[in-house]
Symmetry: C2
DNA sequence: AGTCAATAGAATTTGGAAATTATTGAACTA
DNA sequence: TAGTTCAATAATTTCCAAATTCTATTGACT
């Protein structure tokens, strides 16, 4: 049987958009960490990843190096890589920071947003509201489509902030928050009405009521954090262990 | 003649603190970009870097991948790496973002800083004020010691902000700003009294006058930007060229 | 001239083997 | 028993050559 080139693989599976193996491994590894498929603190041996993603050592290492700079993965020279650890203290710090950064993004965006910006918000909200939170009817199951549309909506709201830096910071923090969110998603799933929260936010934003929008956004962020903290069944450690190699 | 191991190299040159070749290349490459030794937009061929840093392809690539995530280097799949481009529009956006982020860091730090924090500010200011801005008496020459102490001082001021995220964002933005600053350093060198600016900032911070500290910090940031913009001799492009591969 | 396809050359990307370093555990000492 | 040394093992890191992809050029064709 003939060998497969990367191009051939891409033709077979159009979901794989990446043009290099390294970028493809990066995408998959990132997703596996965000969904919790690879757990916080887990050691990432190159042989294990090589087998999991059917790639050579070089692209695997490139992906790990990229993710380490984004702090989804933790690198220690000569001691390899871990999935970054989580903790209550980490979540609290993350939540605080998200509120600060997103407040600024939101205020700037509301001040400078134009008609196209408004329309994009309406559009992404519409799509989000027609998509089920869970891939399964009864219990919670990760739904990649909802997750994507959810990001699209929140990104649309702050898109007019006028700073690519701010947008990328927000994105990085959302990545981090998503990991925590997945830890408690099964618990929060039946209880929460996220659709209303998003609708309220949209209305405040379109009314250019910055103070109200910020308050709603902040509450939205804190609510997610509280659910994770209260649903303590993942025995989340209180703080980062200074001796933990996945501490970062 | 015998081959050199990495350990042997480290013993010879104690300046190389990194434990792996990849980290060492990362440090050197980052510095070369910050100082402008490698110019904005320049293509970074692996063979060129291999020769420059006397390393193999793998560690060079790892360093490039890390720097790309930090946006000091720009990656295009299958087309290699460039030093990230600069432009007037980019500088303006960067400056704006720095003011937003550093304002929050400053206010939080002033609110929560303790005695040890105050002492560290006094200490780092003292060290900075006794170090010459330029390595040369007459003309401007990059002075690594001053640059390090300058960072230490500004980091000390915001160190008590309570968020590692905010601190790392500030650091990333400082890296970016440093590139612009080096472009105009020779021009601004004789004119500017940075020591007074830092002293004013320190006094406002120690007096816990957040509003004044923020105003000074913002002015400090804007002043650097203005110098770069006015000293237009580097024919900085107005905006990023959408066709430029180093655009990011 | 301008467009397009084929081709040669240059650069990037990748896989695996070799070199280096960390870890483990057994034997030994105080 | 606690702590050290040292060899065996396991993992990480690095180098390099092969495979793939991009780029520039040429020449045929409209």
């Amino acid at each position: 049987m003939a060998e497969q080139t990367q191009l051939e693989r891409s033709k077979e599976d159009p979901k794989v958009a990446s043009t290099t193996v390294a970028s493809s491994v990066y995408d998959q590894l990132r997703l596996d960490i965000l969904t919790g498929d690879l757990q916080p603190g887990e050691k990432l041996r190159s042989e294990f990843l090589r087998g999991r993603y059917k790639a050579g050592i070089s692209p695997v290492r490139e992906a790990l190096n990229r993710l380490a700079t984004e702090r989804l993965v933790c690198r220690e020279d000569q001691r390899g890589f871990h999935v970054a650890a989580v903790s209550k203290a980490g979540l609290i710090e993350l939540t605080k920071t998200r509120c600060w950064i997103e407040e600024r993004a939101l205020r700037e965006s509301i001040e400078h947003g134009d008609d196209a910006w408004e329309e994009q918000i309406v559009l992404t909200f519409h799509r989000l509201s027609r998509t089920p939170r869970s891939a399964d009817d009864q219990t919670y199951a990760f739904n990649a489509k909802w997750e994507g549309l959810h990001r699209d909506f929140h990104n649309a709201v702050i898109a007019a902030c006028g700073s690519h830096w701010l947008l990328s910071f927000c994105e990085q923090l959302v990545d981090q928050a998503d990991r925590y969110r997945q830890l408690a998603a099964a618990v929060s799933y039946p209880k929460r009405n996220e659709r209303d929260e998003h609708q309220d936010l949209m209305e405040a934003v379109l009314a250019r009521d910055a103070d109200r929008a910020v308050a709603l956004q902040c509450a939205h962020i804190h609510k997610t954090a509280d659910i994770v903290l209260n649903a303590n069944l993942n025995n989340l450690p209180d703080d980062f262990d200074p001796a933990d190699p996945s501490r970062c």
